[in-house]
Symmetry: C2
Subunit: 237 residues, 2 copies
């Protein structure tokens, strides 16, 4: 039997890295796709390159930088908007929503997969902790992702599946899975700040990363500028 | 009552031009969005500028040129693939399918509309003649467009409608509507060839344009390099 061929949407973060490793572990033929969309944390693309390189997976990085120009007002691509610190559950975090970002990424990935004659797009959407589907990021909610997956099957003569195996996992479950798959988490990048070589430790995604390792009961080898904030601010000892 | 605010996806062709004029005629607050996606017929963007300019509508042209690089093998963006001539119903026309193109455009237009706080995206998809939904372009089929429209309403906290008023109209019906709205069809551009100032008259979209005017019983002021092909090739006298 021919191996399944999958284009994995690779952000450089922990979830998509784990998906990349999982597809490879299953013996799939894998390519990766990432986007330069004018995000502050361009550093994540270096992580994507490292991760793809480690598995000898061909990575395409598409230039979508002009997207930032037509999507003013969000903190990830508009430098005039302050990046909030704290937990995703907080209202201030809405500023980090790049509207409809993942639908844009998935639709381009589907096109890429169709062009290549591939079978699937792997999308590491995770709504886990917000188990009621009330995730801040609407494009990570199950109802949205399931609809997107049905749309994927009818957008072209060549059928492509949208695989979202992590949709209902918690961050801790993904970290466990990645740990089993020997994902080099130290090579992944979560932090929204452009920053240097260290994660800030204070933005929404840094907080989630630290809480994830804690919940998984695994040690976190990530270097944070502020190692205490994520726990102190939420009264975690 | 405040006017409805709509971002119209403007290709520079007849259908989207008619939609732009219709939204303006209804008193809506309108912006337009077009894409440079490395298409051969970049000339259509000049048409989009002319049309938006004539109505004093603000037009954003987003640079998506890098899309062509990751979507090899289609005749619209890959110069190595020959552009077929003839009727859309012919098998050779499959080469003109840019996979999932319209889902990409719509998803970006939704993001743009959400960023602006707009109410709707206007999308002039038309499956008309292929009334059974068997259009060559899967992303113009009713089942696809309806699913996309439901997805649009749940992709963000700010709800945006996807308006596709022409979905089940024939080309001739759109031309009639445009004629009533005084759309300057001579300013619109359909031809897939990069060409000069004239439409080629032989590619799929030129043939459809000519057959549309014929079926509408209206005179076609478009200048074609080859005025006869569309009729001779299909035994129309």
């Amino acid at each position: 039997m021919k191996p399944k061929k999958t284009v994995v949407l690779l952000s450089g973060g922990m979830d998509s890295a784990t998906l990349l490793y999982q597809c490879k572990a299953e013996g799939q033929e894998v390519r990766a796709l990432a986007f330069n969309y004018g995000q502050r944390h361009l550093r994540e693309l270096e992580a994507a390159k490292d991760l793809a390189g480690a598995l000898q997976v061909q990575l395409a990085i598409m230039d979508l930088t002009d997207l930032a120009r037509i999507l003013p007002g969000n903190a990830l691509t508009d430098k005039k908007v302050n990046l909030p610190i704290g937990h995703y559950a907080e209202d201030a975090m809405k500023a980090t929503v790049v509207p409809n970002r993942n639908m844009i990424f998935v639709s381009i990935a589907l096109a890429h997969a169709i062009s290549l004659g591939y079978d699937a797009v792997g999308y590491a959407a995770q709504t886990g902790e917000a188990g009621d589907g009330q995730s801040l990021y609407h494009d990570c909610r199950p109802v949205f992702v399931h609809s997107l997956a049905s749309l994927a099957t009818i957008c072209d003569e060549h059928k492509v599946e949208l695989d979202c195996p992590f949709l209902c996992l918690t961050k801790a479950q993904i970290i466990h899975l990645g740990n089993d798959l020997k994902v080099p988490f130290a090579k992944t990048w979560s932090c929204y700040y452009a920053g240097g070589d260290k994660h800030c430790g204070r933005c929404g995604t840094c907080v989630k990363r630290q809480h994830g390792f804690l919940a998984a009961g695994l040690s976190d080898s990530t270097e944070y500028e502020d190692k205490e904030f994520a726990f102190r601010a939420f009264n975690i000892k």
